[in-house]
Symmetry: C2
Subunit: 372 residues, 2 copies
C-alpha cells in the first residue's frame, strides 16, 4: 500500500542491486520511515529477532528472503555449484533463522520451503531461493488481496443500508499490510472499500501495551488516505452502545478450526461488546492461521506472557527524538499477557482467502474440505 | 491512608498554621509527593481547576476548605463581623469556586453548604466555614469507611470459600482515597480487608487515556502495602476467562436509582467480561452519587468528550524529570470519551454507606426509603 504517495511492500529486492533485501524498519514507525538494507542472513535474522519486521505474513516472507541471502553468501563463499557441503552449510543458516522467533509458525514453514526448492534445483539453488522468496511474498499478498475482495462485500452491503453514509469499522492491533507483505488481513477489506470509493471510517484501538494500533495501523491507514480516528482500548463499548460502530474486523494469531480466535489481548472484550450491541464481529485470516487440531481455543491455546516493562514503560516522540518514559510507580509490578481468545460464539464470521464462513468446524470444513 | 508509612488525608489544615489548607498535589503522583499550601480561595480554585485535587469526594471537601479560605480573606480584608456586604463578597467567591469545574455536583453542593452555615452563624462565619469544611471532610471519610465495612463482607466470604488463598479483585480507574478524603469507595473494602488480615491482590487497570489506575491506584495501594499488579485495560477479560479474578469493584461518577452506572470509560467492557464469566461485579458509591431522576443511564447520562491530546500524548517519568511524549502519527486524529455507562443488568450489587443492594430501583429505594 502507499506511504507518502508511493507504493510499498514490507520486503523487496533492491531494484539497483538485487543482492540486497530491503525492508521498512518498523521500530521507527510512525515517527520515521527508515528503509533498511539486509545483505546477509545474519542481518535478516537480527531484523526478525529484534522486530524490525514483524507480523505472521511478513515473517514468512522474511524467511524466504533470508534463505536467499543465505544462498548468496554460501555460494559466493565456497560452493559453486551446490553440493552436499553447500546444503550442510545452508541448513545451518536455516536453523539460525528459525531460532530467531521459535513460536512463529510461518518462519519455520518459509525456511523449509526455501530449502526444499534448493534441493529440487541443485544446478541453480540461488535462483530457486530467489524465486521461492518471491513466490512466498506474492502468495501472501495475493491471499490478503482475496481476503479484501471477500470482506469488502460486507462493507458494501452495510454502506448500501446506510445510503452511502460512512461505514464505521473498529479494529484492534495491527493486522494491516505492515504485518504482511501487502494489503493486510483485517485492513484488506478496508483498502478494497477505499479503492472502490465506498466511504469508510476506521476506529483504531491504540492496543496497549505495545500500541500497534496507535503506531502502525493509524500510520498505514493515514498514509494510504483512509479516514480513521485513534481511540483508547476502553472506548469501543461506548461507541457500540451508541450506534457509532457498524462492524468490527480484527486479525488473528491462531484460529481453531472450531472457530475460537486467539488475537491481541483485548480482542475478546470488543467481541463481547459487539455481541451485546448486535454489531457484527469478523476475524480476517489466511488459511495458514487455522489450527486443524485444537478444538477449544480458550482452554488449549497457550497465551504468551511478556515482560512487565512493556506495560510500565512506553516509547513516544519528543522534539529530541523518541524517548522512553515510565508510566507507573517504580515499585508496582505489572503483568503482560500477549493474547486472549475470543470464543466462536461471539464471532459473526471468518473472512478467509476462499470466502466468508460462520465460525464453526462444519462451516470451516465446507471452505477447506481437503482438511476434513 | 498511608504514604511512606505516615497517615494522610487528601486535604487538611496545616497543623502549625490553621490559616493554611494543605493538599497533595496529585499532578505529580506517582513520581513525586508534593504537598501544596493553599492560602487564598483563588489558590483553591486553581487547585480544583487544574486538577491538583480531583475526585468527587475530594472536590466536595475542597469546596468547604475553599470557602473557609474565602471567609478568612474576606473577613481579614474588610468585614468584621459579618454583614450583608460580607455575604455579597463571599457569594462571589463561592461562584468563582463553583465555576472551576461546572459539572462537579459535589463542588456546588459543598460551596452552598458552607454559605448556608455562615448565614446561620453571622456572629462567627469564619468558625462556621471552618467547621463546615471539617464536617464535609469527616462525613466523606466516614461514608467511605462504611462502604468499606459493608464491602469487606463480600471479600471475607470469597476468602472463606477459597480457604484463605488471596482474593483477586480487579478495579478500573481511581476510586481510591486520593479521589476522596480517605479510604476511597472502590478501594475501601480492599483497605478494610487488608486491615483485617484477609489476603487480597488487586489487578489495577491502567485506565487509558489518563492512566489514573497506573498512576494513582497503583501508588496508593503500593504505599499502603496492598499487593497489586498493574495491567493494560485489555487484560481483564483474559484474566476472568481463566479464573484469575474473584470480583470486580469500581467506583462511579453517577448511578441512576435504577442501577445504571456511569464510570470511567472502559468500565462497561469489564462488566461484560464479568457477566460472561460469572465474576461478581460491584459498584461502590456514596449515596450522593445516585441520580434520583434519570431512569435509563445509557440513553440519558451525558458523556463528556475531552481533548484528543490526552490520547495522543502521555506523561511519564524519565531520569530528567516528567516528560510528555507523543504516541501516534502526527496526522492521526483521536477521540476521547470520558465515561461509559454500565447497564444495571451487568451489575451484581451496589455497595453504599448504608449497605449493599442489587442494582434496581426497588432495591435502592429499600436502602433509601426517604427518596421514594
Amino acid at each position: 500500500m502507499k506511504i507518502q504517495g508511493k507504493h510499498y511492500r514490507t520486503v523487496w529486492l533492491k531494484p539497483e542491486d538485487p543482492s540486497v533485501v530491503q525492508i521498512i524498519d518498523q521500530r521507527y514507525l510512525p515517527f520515521e520511515l527508515v528503509i533498511e538494507d539486509l545483505r546477509t542472513p545474519q542481518e535478516a535474522a537480527t531484523a526478525i529477532k529484534e522486530m524490525h519486521a514483524r507480523g505472521a505474513g511478513l515473517i514468512g516472507a522474511m524467511a524466504g528472503y533470508g534463505m536467499y541471502l543465505a544462498a548468496l553468501q554460501t555460494l559466493g563463499a565456497k560452493f559453486t555449484p551446490a553440493n552436499e557441503a553447500f546444503f550442510e552449510e545452508i541448513e545451518k543458516q536455516g536453523a539460525m533463522l528459525k531460532a530467531t522467533r521459535p513460536t512463529a509458525v510461518n518462519l519455520e514453514w518459509g525456511v523449509n520451503r526455501a530449502l526444499e526448492a534448493m534441493r529440487a534445483n541443485p544446478q541453480n539453488p540461488l535462483q530457486a531461493a530467489r524465486e521461492t522468496a518471491q513466490i512466498i511474498a506474492d502468495e501472501d499478498a495475493d491471499y490478503c488481496r482475496r481476503i479484501g475482495e471477500h470482506g469488502v462485500e460486507i462493507i458494501a452491503e452495510i454502506s448500501k443500508r446506510k445510503n452511502g453514509a460512512p461505514v464505521n469499522i473498529l479494529t484492534h492491533c495491527n493486522a494491516g499490510w505492515l504485518a504482511f507483505v501487502d494489503y493486510g488481513t483485517a485492513t484488506a477489506p478496508m483498502y478494497a472499500a477505499f479503492e472502490r470509493g465506498i466511504p469508510i471510517h476506521v476506529w483504531v484501538d491504540e492496543t496497549r501495551p505495545r500500541n500497534q494500533g496507535a503506531r502502525l495501523t493509524a500510520y498505514e491507514l493515514g498514509q494510504h488516505g483512509v479516514p480513521h480516528t485513534v481511540i483508547a482500548d476502553n472506548v469501543g463499548g461506548h461507541l457500540m452502545q451508541h450506534g457509532m460502530v457498524d462492524m468490527v474486523i480484527t486479525g488473528a494469531d491462531r484460529v481453531t478450526h472450531t472457530g475460537d480466535a486467539a488475537n491481541k489481548i483485548g480482542t475478546y472484550l470488543k467481541a463481547l461488546a459487539a455481541k451485546d450491541n448486535g454489531v457484527p464481529f469478523y476475524i480476517a485470516l489466511p488459511s495458514s492461521t487455522f489450527d486443524w487440531v485444537m478444538t477449544d481455543g480458550v482452554r488449549q491455546i497457550p497465551v504468551e506472557q511478556r515482560g512487565g516493562e512493556e506495560v510500565t514503560w512506553i516509547d513516544g516522540w519528543t522534539e529530541d527524538g523518541v524517548k522512553s518514559v515510565r508510566l507507573t510507580p517504580a515499585e508496582s509490578p505489572a503483568a503482560n499477557f500477549g493474547f486472549d481468545v475470543t470464543p466462536a460464539r461471539l464471532i459473526t464470521g471468518l473472512i478467509t482467502e476462499r470466502g466468508i464462513c460462520p465460525a464453526s468446524a462444519e462451516e470451516v470444513y465446507k471452505l477447506y474440505p481437503e482438511k476434513r
